[in-house]
């Protein structure tokens, strides 16, 4: 990791520690207002709006590694935020597509389980209006605008739809992951403006998704890292049978494996974010396959080794477990990524 990315991560970590003391704050404020507070701190106070937008377009011109470093901290804290879905995924598409929406909250209209490499489900666009429905869209709640993949007379387009109109319904549902809730979108002839069309639209979408998968892997490494640190701290403090429970070899070996997992996840995610363009898709598939499974595995170990306290609403571990479980399928499951990998590295089924 470069020293700039490292410094950025430190700053974000300090901000999150001061603003977001886990479940206590979440339970008091609710996800909505807490997310607004975290995102305001992130984008306005720390000035990270436009992180991945070039300086020519008025952004910060940051690297994907910078975004990955921020996402690692957001994953560790499990703070609700639209950083991944807006700053990393939607915003660069809008700005490179000529829309001037820097700093507003954007959301790409895709189901959050969209697998890599296949066709992206599209709305229908005609005469300045777009229609379509999408289930379980992350980052839709609180979005100012939507970027919508659509077909226009058989050709790909990306169109922009303003949120808050009657023709663009965002229906909140009860989400398994409480800190990244999903919503259903239903657009019925919603007024839309074309951002980009044809092959350029496909490329722009594919690149944004690829980069977001790299950043998601880093977020998952952050979840795993927090779960391990918190569990080690707990097993050193908790005593049963007259000894620290962390002195039992049954737990020591599992925690050592968890440490190996965390090191692997951090390395895979960093390499995916830092790799050159020609090798990036392979490394992103590797990172997505490895990191989502590791985050879930270590989060499960965290709950188990915390015993009863890990099952309580008050303890913050469950937020990570929920994020990690939903994250396994997010932007494509590990199996989807391995299937994609198979075609990239010539290992056909």
């Amino acid at each position: 990791m470069s020293s700039e990315s490292h410094d950025l991560a430190q700053t974000v970590r300090r901000m999150l520690a001061s603003r977001f003391a886990d479940t206590i704050v979440l339970n008091r404020l609710g996800e909505d207002s807490l997310r607004e507070e975290v995102d305001h701190a992130l984008h306005v106070e720390l000035g990270l709006a436009g992180l991945l937008v070039s300086e020519d377009d008025g952004g910060l011109g940051g690297t994907l590694a910078d975004a990955a470093a921020v996402a690692f901290e957001l994953g560790a804290s499990c703070a609700p935020s639209n950083f991944l879905t807006s700053t990393v995924l939607a915003e660069p598409m809008v700005v490179s597509g000529g829309g001037d929406r820097l700093g507003a909250v954007g959301c790409l209209a895709i189901s959050w389980d969209l697998p890599p490499g296949g066709d992206v489900p599209r709305g229908e666009y005609a005469d300045g209006q777009v229609s379509g429905t999408w289930q379980s869209v992350a980052g839709a709640i609180g979005a100012d605008y939507f970027v919508v993949p659509a077909s226009s007379a058989g050709q790909s387009v990306l169109v922009l739809v303003e949120a808050g109109q009657d023709a663009a319904v965002c229906h909140e549902v009860t989400s398994l992951d409480q800190t990244r809730p999903v919503a259903d979108l239903s657009f019925d002839h919603a007024p839309a403006t074309v951002l980009v069309e044809g092959a350029q639209a496909d490329e722009s979408l594919a690149l944004a998704l690829l980069r977001s998968r790299a950043v998601l892997a880093s977020e998952q490494a952050g979840i795993a890292s927090w779960c391990l640190d918190t569990t080690v701290e707990y097993v050193l403090q908790r005593r049963q049978f007259g000894r620290q429970v962390g002195s039992f070899q049954a737990l020591k070996h599992r925690l050592a494996y968890a440490w190996i997992d965390v090191q692997s996840a951090c390395t895979a995610a960093e390499e995916a974010a830092e790799s050159s363009a020609d090798d990036q898709e392979v490394l992103v598939c590797v990172a997505q396959s490895a990191c989502s499974e590791i985050a879930f595995r270590v989060a499960e170990e965290c709950i188990q080794m915390h015993g009863g306290i890990g099952m309580t609403w008050e303890h913050p571990a469950h937020l990570r477990l929920k994020r990690a479980l939903v994250g396994v399928a997010a932007l494509g499951s590990p199996e989807h990524h391995r299937q994609r990998l198979a075609s990239l590295v010539d290992l056909p089924g």
Binding site: G246, S247, A256, T267, A290, R338, L347, G349
Partner: protein
């Protein structure tokens, strides 16, 4: 950098590979500091980085220069050399290091004993000083390549009344001593990569002692931590090792492919790739950062992935996987983890999680040294070695 390449060119010009004997070329390469450029000046290196060595190796390969056949001396290069550099006297380094690197001297390791495997510090081979010569008696085991070795690194007990870790001393043992008897030890693969070594009144001059008397445990740990084998010197390419072999078998046999095995293969491919990325980071780390318990992680994963991948290959091959190439007892002179047939590869890989520290011991190491979890109960702690139950 240009300076480095001009050194390489000077070496090739002064010792044309086509007309220079292999040993003469390798000696000249060492003297020019181009053996391992990350090592110190005068020690075959130029105090540069391991990455620079890759450039040197590429240029030398392009000039058809010989290499030092690193696989034939894996213990010497990977374990003895770093230990000598850390604990050897200047005289010892001058004497041992160059012929070690050129392969003129093959090295073996005399550490484990029948009663001291994972609990290495429990060794009972004794060394008693008579004048300026140590008289050594005992039995060592799992000694690869002893029959070809000029020297062995030996840990022996020099003070049985001290605590077990404190009474040890580290030596360079001449393997031609008449008191040394080497017996091959046949393994589940059918071959005898290992030996038992019996030491009866073996004479080792005090000049061959590495480190202080009683410092053997610290020196031995430097050796064990360096077990990141030096083979190849540079970063590994994608699909190096067992996964590369299995991936080739998969590509060559489309008719045998089935979906459940496909996902298992891809999962192992991903794990191998992550392991490669992690290991390359370790290799890229400056030489000033000592290897530590954290490096054990790569070894644990390496062993598991090698076992699972090679077992998958046997299963994938079906009828062909039911055959074995050869059960004849051979005594191989080099490490061949990915050679021969799938059955051999699998059986050999079972040793990966045992040799050089069992997976279980390494997990304890990570848990205790990296994560700071409480140590295992050790009933022999704080007791003189000769008073402990064995």
């Amino acid at each position: 950098m240009t300076d480095l390449m001009s050194r390489v060119n000077d070496l090739i010009a002064s010792h044309p590979p086509a007309s220079t004997s292999r040993v003469d070329f390798l000696r000249a390469q060492y003297d020019a500091g181009l053996a391992w450029v990350d090592k110190p000046l005068g020690r075959g290196g130029l105090a540069m980085t391991a990455e620079d060595q890759q450039k040197v190796d590429r240029a030398l390969r392009a000039a058809s220069a010989p290499d030092n056949d690193p696989l034939a001396n894996a213990i010497g290069l990977g374990m003895v050399a770093p230990t000598l550099l850390e604990f050897g006297t200047p005289e010892q380094i001058d004497r041992f290091l160059r012929p070690l690197w050129t392969g003129e001297h093959i090295w073996c390791q005399l550490f484990s004993e029948p009663g001291a495997g994972s609990d290495l510090a429990n060794i009972s081979t004794s060394a008693v000083l008579q004048g300026d010569t140590w008289i050594v008696n005992g039995q060592k085991v799992w000694t690869s390549g002893a029959q070809n070795a000029a020297f062995g690194i030996l840990v022996a007990r020099t003070d049985p009344t001290a605590f077990k870790h404190a009474g040890l001393t580290y030596f360079v043992c001449p393997m031609q001593d008449p008191g040394i008897e080497i017996r091959p030890l046949r393994q589940i693969t059918g071959e005898a990569e290992f030996n038992e070594v019996f030491l009866t009144d073996v004479r080792i001059p005090d000049a061959n002692r590495i480190g202080k008397v009683g410092q053997g445990w610290a020196v031995a740990n430097a050796t064990l931590n360096s077990e990141r084998v030096h083979v190849g010197g540079g970063e590994a390419a994608r699909e190096t090792g067992m996964i590369g072999v299995v991936a080739r078998t998969w590509r060559d046999n489309p008719a045998l492919r089935r979906p459940a095995l496909h996902d298992r293969l891809l999962r192992l491919w991903v794990e191998s790739e992550v392991l490669r990325l992690v290991s390359n980071r370790v290799r890229r780390r400056p030489g000033t950062v000592p290897p530590g318990p954290g490096d054990s992680a790569a070894k644990i994963t390496f062993a598991r992935v090698a076992q699972q991948a090679s077992a998958l290959e046997v299963e994938f091959l079906g009828a062909a996987g039911m055959r074995y190439d050869d059960w004849t007892m051979h005594r191989p002179d080099r490490l061949a983890l990915t050679g021969r047939g799938p059955g051999f590869r699998y059986l050999r890989s079972k040793g990966n999680s045992i040799e050089g520290g069992t997976t279980e011991v390494l997990l304890n190491l990570i848990a205790e040294r990296v994560l700071g979890l409480p140590p295992e109960h050790r009933p022999d702690k704080g007791i003189a070695w000769n008073e402990t139950a064995r």
